[in-house]
Symmetry: C2
Subunit: 347 residues, 2 copies
């Protein structure tokens, strides 16, 4: 028997989740030595991804959304890289890395059928690329693919255009900015601290500003002198309202997220929507899972960019699965710097 | 010499335009007998189209927009059907009807080059179709093409889907509804009087309600039991906010206009935008002139539908060009019923 620490969804939060009340840490036992049936295998969690969308799943299950609500009193789920430590499955042999959405717990027993159905894929790439495993839930995982899909499928980016990215130092924003830069766009971003702004300039953003201490309208006027062609929207609210006035004719808004709104009991209303008609703007939401067919191309492109040092990727590591609730709160408050991950175990 | 009555843009309005102050009627003289140079021709206005977008042109010229501001102390412009009454142009021979955006005045002298550059086209179709000339600035003019482009290019309508149309008894809405119905969609509309609602049902809408006297949310719940796949957005503001909650996953908003906002000194802010992300909604503005290449197909399709009595088109006729300012105010207040036109002269 080993201890199996789990991160449990205990109560629907009002506003920001409260640790110890809405999200709790539970210790139970896991029998590593229990015999496996054919097709069964045991995975050990190596690294977890903590992302803003998770707040949307911490809701009453009766409220419909694109993604099912978390089940009360069960572990929350999110992107994971896990190691197969015991296996009676030929699809998922021992010592394979597997990538998928998974339960936030140290050990999980799976069977082949449900694993396949739930998109658990063997991803042994780190063994040959030498890229850190944590990158596979970030720049090479769902956040990276989100940036890639957003830019190409929704934003329809073109060389010479100007893109503005909010939450630009976050898990998605930093990848989006660097891909756009490599594609020949002018790239401007905002973030919530001077340290993050300095980082954005360091990784090649043409302009960056601190939206908490600087005037957003003035900064966009100065940094996007030809207006904004594409807005990578991660925050919503007041930011969106201001950006609408800076978008060019035929501008596109990649509606990726609105993190400023997730913890408000009453989301903000947004002005300046008349721009959508008068400037023929396309404002489009998307979910990365609708574009799974792009994943192989994305992995090939972005892996090569990382190996060529054309993409840098900042991560914040929380150490130990017990730190997951704090890490989630950090992300919802924007206190993380770069992609927030939780290191659960080493190989 | 004949009298040439003109409708002049005299002052930038605050809120609704004031007749006699912001829009005025001017009488001047026009010399029908002055000799024409080669390529010149004189047109007599037959019918004018009065549309909500015209309010957007009554602004200070220093404010940029997709459409130039009207020039102060010059005639306002809009869609017209005009008759060539004298001509030294082989492109625009005498007794041709011409369709284009034109000055709101009884007589205009044009030359071939500027007429071609400004999209003045010979449209003698009424001579063979027997369709009333006024239809050529409405169901067969810019409003009809707007409905057509909106449905096919922005709305991507599909058989079996539900479309909801605001301002459904207006110039664009009634065409959009009937085309969508012919394409096998469930069609629901709203309008601002019981008489208009009765008309919508008469022309084949599956459901219709009076947004001034009935609860919008309740009506949409009842009349769109499977949710809304496509919203043909003509009004903006509160209506848009409510519709966002009724849109289905992958819903589309055809952002055609926001007439409820045009005369507000401070446009309303809109809530519920989080739906755009969570439901992967596409909210897209467009201007009909970007799709001029669709016009031949549109004319062929919709002319046939009219001849086959598959489209009815309600018009409100103001008699005499002097009535144009009142007609515009009626449109901005939603007092018109169907397409508002002004009969200037008979053939």
């Amino acid at each position: 028997m080993v201890v199996n620490t789990q991160i449990i969804f205990s109560k629907v939060p009002t506003g920001y989740p409260v640790i110890g009340q809405d999200i709790t840490v539970k210790k139970s036992e896991f029998d590593l030595d229990a015999p496996l049936k054919d097709g069964e295998f045991i995975v050990k969690n190596l690294v977890l991804s903590v992302d803003p969308y998770m707040r949307g799943k911490m809701r009453d299950a009766s409220i419909p959304s694109y993604t099912p609500a978390y089940e009360l009193n069960e572990p929350i789920t999110g992107d994971t890289m896990r190691l197969v430590i015991k296996s009676k499955s030929s699809l998922y042999p021992e010592q394979s890395y597997v990538y998928s959405i998974g339960s936030f717990e140290e050990y999980t027993k799976l069977n082949e059928q449900e694993a396949k159905a739930n998109g658990v894929v063997v991803r042994n790439d780190p063994k040959t690329t030498g890229i850190p495993i944590s990158n596979y839930v970030g720049v090479l995982g769902m956040p990276g693919l989100t940036a890639y899909v957003g830019l190409y499928k929704i934003g329809e980016i073109k060389r010479g255009e100007t893109i503005y990215i909010s939450a630009a130092a976050g898990a998605v924003g930093q990848v989006a900015g660097q891909i756009a830069k490599a594609q020949g766009l002018r790239v401007v971003g905002s973030a919530g601290s001077d340290e993050k702004v300095a980082y954005l300039k360091e990784i090649g953003f043409d302009g960056a500003f601190n939206y908490k201490t600087q005037d957003i309208h003035d900064q966009l006027t100065e940094l996007c002198p030809k207006g904004i062609d594409v807005y990578f929207e991660n925050v919503g609210g007041k930011m969106l309202e201001i950006v609408l006035n800076h978008l060019n004719t035929f501008g596109r808004i990649i509606a990726c997220g609105m993190v400023s709104q997730y913890n408000l009991t009453k989301p903000e209303k947004v002005g300046n929507l008349l721009n959508i008609v008068s400037k023929r703007i396309k404002f489009q939401g998307f979910i990365v899972y609708d574009y799974a067919d792009l994943e192989p191309q994305f992995l090939a492109d972005v892996t090569q960019m990382i190996l060529d040092k054309k993409i840098k990727y900042r991560e914040t590591h929380a150490e130990g699965i017990e730190k997951t609730p704090e890490a989630l709160l950090d992300v919802l408050h924007g206190r993380n710097f770069g992609k927030q991950v939780v290191d659960v175990a080493s190989v």
